[in-house]
Amino acid sequence: MSSVDLGIVGAGPAGLAAAVEARSAGHSVALLDEAAHPGGQIYRNIDHAGAKQFELLGPDYAYGKALTKAFGKSGCSYLPKSSVWHVEQRDTGFRLSYSRDGRSHGVDVGSLIIATGALERPMPLPGWTLPGVTTAGAIQILLKASATVADDLVLVGSGPLLILLAAQLVTSGYPPRAIVETVPLKNYVRALPRVPFNASGLGYLYKGSKLLARVARAGVPIFRDARDIVIEGTKRVEAVSFRSKGRAHRVETMSVGLHHGVVPNQQITRLMRCEHVWDQRQHAFLPILTEDGETSVHGLFVAGDGGGIRGAHSAEIAGRLAALKVIERMTGESQAAVKSLRKKLKRDASVRPFLEALYPPFSEALVPSDDTLVCRCEEVTAGQIRDAVRDTASEANQVKSFLRTGMGPCQGRVCGLAVTELIAEASGRSRNDVGYFRIRPPLKPLSLNELADYETEAQ
């Protein structure tokens, strides 16, 4: 079993920045990541993307190149295609078990930084399981990794990622067929007082308005204040129907991209029983963290969107900050850069209150109609969950054992928050009381052979 000073999970901006920082102080670092190449979702495929992708994805994507370059030179031990399926606390830190090419291995780490980023917020609408319906993030991954686009995509939902994707598709020559936007009109008024009047905040807004202008110039129809959304089809998606400003619409399409924000990926912090708390503004559970990202478990840090959604730039700063804290612990020397990084982090987050007020989750997807599937793996509907609550289940884990929600291979990655939300609605209890699924190892399904081989090896 190999061992290093610092283990990092995730090769997005937070993980890469943390690795470079810790390496430059001379510490041994292992970085594990599920993907084949560094970059995370935001800078996915950055080292292999061609001129076409850079043209479409713009300078914010190209920025990631500097990060992967510095990482490549850092001397960090990099474990791509490695999926962490267990983390255990040891006297000396943590042991990570991971699977790579069908075989499992272990590595012991002194401190641990979780930089596993965000997942799409579940968007259970009628018909969301039909082939041809994806997350907006999935469409962007196709663009980044394969320069492939959906031909007649209808985007449904709201948020910065939706607008960014629409603008990128316009540039690609395959503009979306329509945007079905779920932002209630009153939100524009509500968000106004939260406009961040500082350079960083205004910079973000300026970029956003340029993207919107690009989409508008291309003549992409935007249906505002959409509700009663139904994705239609039998064997695959055929159309999206909805009402917008009092009128009924039906748009035929073969692809639908859903998005109403992203939420922290908490598989590892939940597995480690770190404390989490409901955050009403982000409308998600967040791990409780110190200013520098340490969880309630000593030596276990979270950096980036996994600790609360703040975007790629903040993730990079948070990664450095967490690494500096780890270095301070190991060397006993306080790190001069900590203070300025904390300040930078605050400044960069100043646009968030505005975005959170403008783009809250879509109410119809938070409390779906009874016959809408919520748990995609075990095919459990919203109605079944409400019935379970009526029959006295009032916690996420009770519903899980009654209905198997969250017991399929995704372990609640997709439906977890939606289930919490529904139980809260049906029982009238707070989300903190309802809680979240208890996450158990292995985090990803393993074959029994792989497990047996690993256990013999570890003995």
Binding site: E34, A35, A36, Q41, H48, G50, K52, L56, S83, L119, E120, T129, L130, P131, G132, V133, T134, T135, G137, A138, I141, L142, A145, S146, A147, T148, V149, A150, D151, D152, S172, G173, Y174, K235, R236, M254, S255, N265, R376, C377, E378, E379, G408, P409, C410, R413, V414, P445, S447
Partner: protein, 119 residues
């Protein structure tokens, strides 16, 4: 897996792919033509992909509509997240069921089949 069922479905798949190809609009379009080809089969039909991409991207770019059916109701599914979290992209690769197509790099000679129900 029962061999007879498998064969019948292969024919259907073939038809589905063909009709799709004749359609004016395809679900997905490549912006770049394939420069470094990889040949693999899906349900017995030979398809081409760009080296380095995922099995899921390769199948979507070939306009394969469904990847699996579900254990509970046998409804059809295709990739939803493309980032390893939803498991709706499960396929059988070279005899091995439960492979996440979005997390597996496509390779020359791979034989890929739909995953049917629980493997």
């Amino acid at each position: 897996m029962i061999y007879g069922v498998h064969c019948k479905d292969t024919v259907q798949t073939h038809m589905a792919i063909l009709t799709n190809r004749l359609d004016e609009t395809l679900m997905y379009q490549r912006l770049l033509s394939i420069s470094d080809p990889v040949k693999f089969t899906f349900e017995g039909q030979t398809l081409t992909a760009q080296a380095g991409e995922s099995v899921a991207a390769a199948l979507l770019a070939s306009n394969v509509e469904s990847f699996r059916d579900t254990p509970v109701s046998h409804s059809l599914r295709s990739p939803f997240c493309m980032m390893g979290s939803c498991f709706d992209c499960l396929v059988e690769i070279d005899g091995q069921p439960n492979c996440q197509a979005c997390m597996t790099e496509v390779r020359d000679g791979m034989e890929i089949y739909r995953q049917r129900g629980e493997a």
